[in-house]
Symmetry: C2
């Protein structure tokens, strides 16, 4: 071989190798160096290095992520609740008798303050009316239309862009190290599955969420279809998260990420397993770049999951690590520098 | 390079290539050439060849398999029912008051004929008493002990060896072509997950089965655990199969395999999708090597799922293909020549 060519190739190989090395040390570029990033990298090293006493075989590498407030913005209101509220006019159009009945009357009034004060049982009625009673295909068509066109009030962007870049990097980093990543959300399973693959790289079958039953039936031409029923099968919140994980995955996660009291049991269940287990909580303490709510801010309780002082104390006691959005994240959104 | 070495290498490469070609044409060595094998190979070619009008992107390649009678022997009684019946003495030992109550009294009597005649509601009581009321870990320990030691009456082998070799080859062939293989069984999800990975290469998270709820709680030391509850969440039979597929996978399969009326809706739902869809039914028509029951044999109805004449007619009408164990399978079990 031409010696000059050898030199060129060696140089190219060296560039490739150092790019590779850079990629390895820099899988989490939006994370500041600190305890949170260090804990993640150390956990991955311990569980994926052959011969490590904490090595986990690839097929057992399961990591579960809450969605709202952990992977994307949940404040001031869950995105799916916004979807349901915005679906109310169409539902009332199809069933005009609802216009005079609460809570639909209040939602149609557009009175934001009154809507925000609707009690939980009214919210459940709105969710049932807007998420059930149609075929799975109809639901998908409606949800897709909304997801494509709706914009959030603060950033004027599709909701699916309000994902946290450091968490997207973390998902990718775990997958690159053989972890199967799951969403385990109190949100509706069918709703999150609409965009989970595009947005998080998580396929529908790896989304565990609050789920209602479906009913198998036939249309006029004899073609089978599934109707979304108002029957609740799985309330994937609090104790429902480990129960949902058992139902849908059948294995205990080695890593779990959440941000609110709704995630407490999932983290506890994860940490109760043998060997290295990672449990982390995202703390919303960045009022400027996102929102600040939770123990330090003394914000009033909102509809969204809260990181209470009690949860903070429990995190310390149980060895769950707190991720400070302000301190640990160099960038929050991909659309911002 | 030494020219002789080049020749050796070229010969080695040629051997490797032809082994590869052989592997490609011979992924289903236990299948006789015929319509069934041909349909499988053609389906895989059509859905995995880039540029084919019926190409399916890898992430959408889902294949679902019934278990009992499709992947392993179900006759004369489902293996899991045998497990439950054999667990009864231990359950009665822990709760002696059950000894005088039906159906436990009959089961303890050992009168096979009487046991076989127990009505469905009695069988449900036995399943509830033997599969629920304990922690998930206790259940696993008991089931493992049984699976390791129990032997079937005819072949005197562990039940997990009574799997059909041609179906194991089919699972492997589909996976080698990018298909994600699932078990969708009327059997208990937690039971099948005990051995699905070892026996079928299907991880627990890809087992959809009849599932009860679990309840999250704490032991005396404060450690969390899940208790198996008698509450039925998913009856994964008949219409429950497409409902379970929607709940657990969220995608319509491209291929589905069953053997009884309990699989009818799963096959129908699979075939109702766009593009190439494969639906197949295993016909038990080999009295010598396994069993013969179903339309041709006019056998009396048993506890196991049946391939009725009506199902046979529907298969023809709907384009589901029938796999004849006698005609299509060169070998049935790995332990037999």
């Amino acid at each position: 071989m031409d010696p000059r060519r050898t030199v060129v190739l060696a140089a190219a190989a060296s560039v490739l190798l150092s790019t590779h090395a850079l990629a390895q040390t820099d899988s989490l570029p939006s994370w500041n160096d600190g305890a949170a990033k260090q804990a993640i990298v150390e956990f991955v090293r311990a569980t994926t290095t052959q011969g490590s006493p904490q090595f986990v075989p690839p097929e057992e590498r399961i990591a579960t992520f809450d969605q709202d407030g952990t992977l994307w913005v949940e404040h001031p209101i869950y995105t799916q609740v916004t979807y349901c509220l915005e679906r109310v006019p169409a539902v009332v159009k199809a069933k005009p008798e609802l216009a005079k009945i609460e809570p639909f009357k209040t939602v149609l009034s557009g009175d934001r303050e009154a809507i925000a004060k609707l009690p939980m049982q009214d919210l459940v009625k709105i969710l049932a009316a807007t998420l059930t009673g149609m075929s799975v295909d109809e639901f998908r068509a409606e949800a897709k239309k909304w997801l494509d066109s709706a914009r959030d009030a603060r950033w004027k962007r599709p909701y699916t862009e309000l994902t946290y870049l450091p968490m997207l990097e973390l998902l990718q980093y775990l997958r690159a190290n053989g972890y199967k990543t799951y969403i385990v959300t109190g949100g509706g399973q069918d709703f999150v599955r609409m965009y989970s693959n595009d947005v998080y790289g998580i396929p529908p079958e790896q989304v565990v969420g609050t789920a209602g039953g479906t009913k198998y039936g036939y249309d006029k031409s004899g073609k089978p279809f599934l109707t979304k029923e108002p029957k609740l099968l799985l309330n994937d919140n609090e104790a429902g998260k480990p129960e949902g994980i058992h139902l849908m995955i059948g294995r205990r996660p080695h890593a779990a990420f959440g941000n609110s009291t709704g995630d407490r049991q999932m983290l506890e269940y994860t940490k109760a397993g043998d060997g290295a287990r990672l449990a982390m909580l995202v703390l919303h303490d960045d009022a400027q770049r996102e929102y600040a709510y939770g123990p330090a801010q003394g914000l009033p309780n909102t509809r969204v999951g809260t990181f209470t002082p009690a949860l903070y104390d429990e995190a310390k006691k149980q060895g769950w690590l707190v991720i400070s959005m302000k301190g640990d994240w160099k960038r929050i959104f991909a659309f911002e520098p």
